[in-house]
Amino acid sequence: MNLTCIVCPLGCELTVEKENGRVISVSGNTCPRGEKYAIGECTNPVRTLTTTARVAGGGLVSVKSDKPLPKGDLNEYMNIINQLNLAPPIHIGDILIKNINNTGIHIVATKNIKGVDYNA
């Protein structure tokens, strides 16, 4: 099986050899992260989710999953995140949803909304 590694912008072309559904070798990678990515893609493909959440009183805050999430359940995560209506102030790194969909992964803020005003 051929894959393109997405861990960094290099985009290495990976060749994965499988036997009975198990990965037995990965080649084409430039670094160890490529091998880890290839095995993950064959067993449990994951992606970091980035989107926005509503802020009470108007506007949006950008958010992400603090670790990559199983990519098949994207719509479920989106439904949960879209129910948020957050009260500012919000700071980068604030956990907005703990353990989303029982994955053990949190949705965190990636932008500061009010409250942090060094210019004031």
Partner: protein, 417 residues
């Protein structure tokens, strides 16, 4: 007239990194002029991850990457003005800007750093036939709608151009519930990073139609569909290959243009290929004391390299201000060869440090050698596994080698292995 040591035009990633670097190199009298209502530039709407791997060894979203620099600007108390639009730069480094309440000011700078970024090519630059309905946006405008303002520009989307913003928006619109019918690319290869093809298109089964373009836009009030066609080697549509896609929105991701109206007003020499200023290794333009960095100089694929370039420009500007006595300098120019579309910097002046040279190739190549030489000998060689126009290459040239150059020309060549 108010005098300021260093005026930086633009408070995006380039402007902020340049300011911090100039500050750390001894210049405290700085003013950043930013036309938007916050610092951070385009990063604020680039909410996806993938930034900072090179610079910070961690994967950040755009706003998180911006915050790393905003925080330094705040902590160092580097002055900045928001909602401040620079109207003119003169050749003698007077900067005129307008801000709120219609007030306009002119300040005299000792040095200026241009960090205005770039803008998107729009429909007007493409000459697409058809009506002029609502529903045609540049990908960046759509990104601002979705990520900052919270509006969806449409439900059924066709994207023209496979630049990174187009690919990122294909995914973004899809996870927000829209259906992206296709991404068309006139070239036989994508203009974006391979990782974005994988995670933004393949993940969602969005077809990438290479060597295809939009030949007609339909709809009176609102876009109702587009006709796409295959193109030949000369990128001319092939008759009989037309295909109709019903859609309500067409997003354009067809290239970025450095925003250099101000550079022109100061009489700065521009490079026809990059659209940015011609600079030396210190990022100094043809006007002494005016520097340029980031996407206003040449369009980068990675913000990490923008920051690096801006740090260099900030350092150079600080040096320029602190060491006013300059000697006449030998000028060495980089020569473009076949298959190299541009090189930045375009020239070198009395080299004191190692020089990182950025360039783009003109086509897709596999297993090639980059060779740098002067009129007599080879100075540097590097093997490259694959090279594409969408992925900027960089090589580091050692200062000892550069000091040794015979003549006043350096050639960068691409050779088959």
């Amino acid at each position: 007239m108010k005098k300021i040591d260093l005026v930086i035009i633009g408070g995006g990633p380039a402007g902020m990194a340049a300011a911090v670097s100039a500050y750390n190199n001894g210049i405290k009298d700085i003013l950043i002029l930013e036309r938007e209502e916050s610092l951070g530039g385009i990063l604020q709407q680039c909410i996806h991850n993938g930034f900072g791997l090179h610079k910070f060894k961690e994967e950040l979203t755009g706003p998180e990457y911006a915050w790393k620099y905003e925080k330094q600007v705040f902590d160092l108390k580097i002055p900045f003005r928001l909602n401040a639009m620079v109207m003119n730069i003169s050749a003698d480094k007077q900067v005129t800007f307008a801000c709120e309440q219609g007030e306009s000011q002119t300040v005299q700078a000792k040095a200026i750093i241009l960090a205005m970024g770039c803008r998107e090519r729009s429909r007007g630059a493409l000459n697409i036939a058809g009506t002029r309905p609502a529903g045609i946006y540049t990908a960046g405008t759509a990104q601002k709608f979705v990520n900052i303002m919270g509006y969806m520009p449409g439900k059924r989307i066709v994207i023209l151009g496979s630049g990174d913003i187009g690919l990122i928006m294909a995914r973004r619109m899809t996870i927000e519930g829209a259906k992206v019918e296709a991404v068309c690319e006139i070239a036989p290869y994508s203009g974006g990073l391979t990782r974005n093809i994988v995670q933004c298109l393949n993940d969602f089964d969005i077809p990438l139609k290479l060597s295809h373009t939009v030949v007609d836009i339909h709809g009176k009030e609102r876009v109702t569909g587009v006709t796409i066609a295959r193109v030949d080697q000369n990128r001319k549509p092939i008759s009989g290959t037309e295909e109709y896609f019903a859609c309500d929105t067409l997003l354009l991701s067809v290239g970025l243009i450095p925003e250099n109206e101000l550079a022109k007003s100061a009489g700065i020499a521009l490079d026809k290929v990059t659209g940015g200023a011609v600079v030396d290794q210190n990022r100094e333009t043809s006007k002494s004391g005016i520097f340029a960095c980031g996407n206003v100089l040449h369009v980068h694929d990675l913000v990490d390299f923008v920051s690096e370039e801006a740090e260099l420009a900030g350092h150079s500007a600080a040096k320029y201000i602190l060491e006013s006595d300059k000697q006449a300098e030998k000028e060495i120019t980089f020569q473009l060869t076949e298959n190299i579309s541009y090189i930045v910097p375009q020239m070198l002046h009395s080299v004191q440090n190692d020089v990182i040279v950025y360039f783009r190739v003109a086509n897709i190549f596999k297993n090639v050698i980059i060779e740098v030489r002067d009129d007599e000998k080879v100075l540097y060689k590097k093997n490259i596994k694959k090279a594409a126009p969408g992925e900027m290459e960089c090589i580091k040239l050692n200062k000892e080698i550069l000091r040794d150059i015979r003549g006043n020309k350096i050639y960068v060549e691409l050779k088959q292995r």
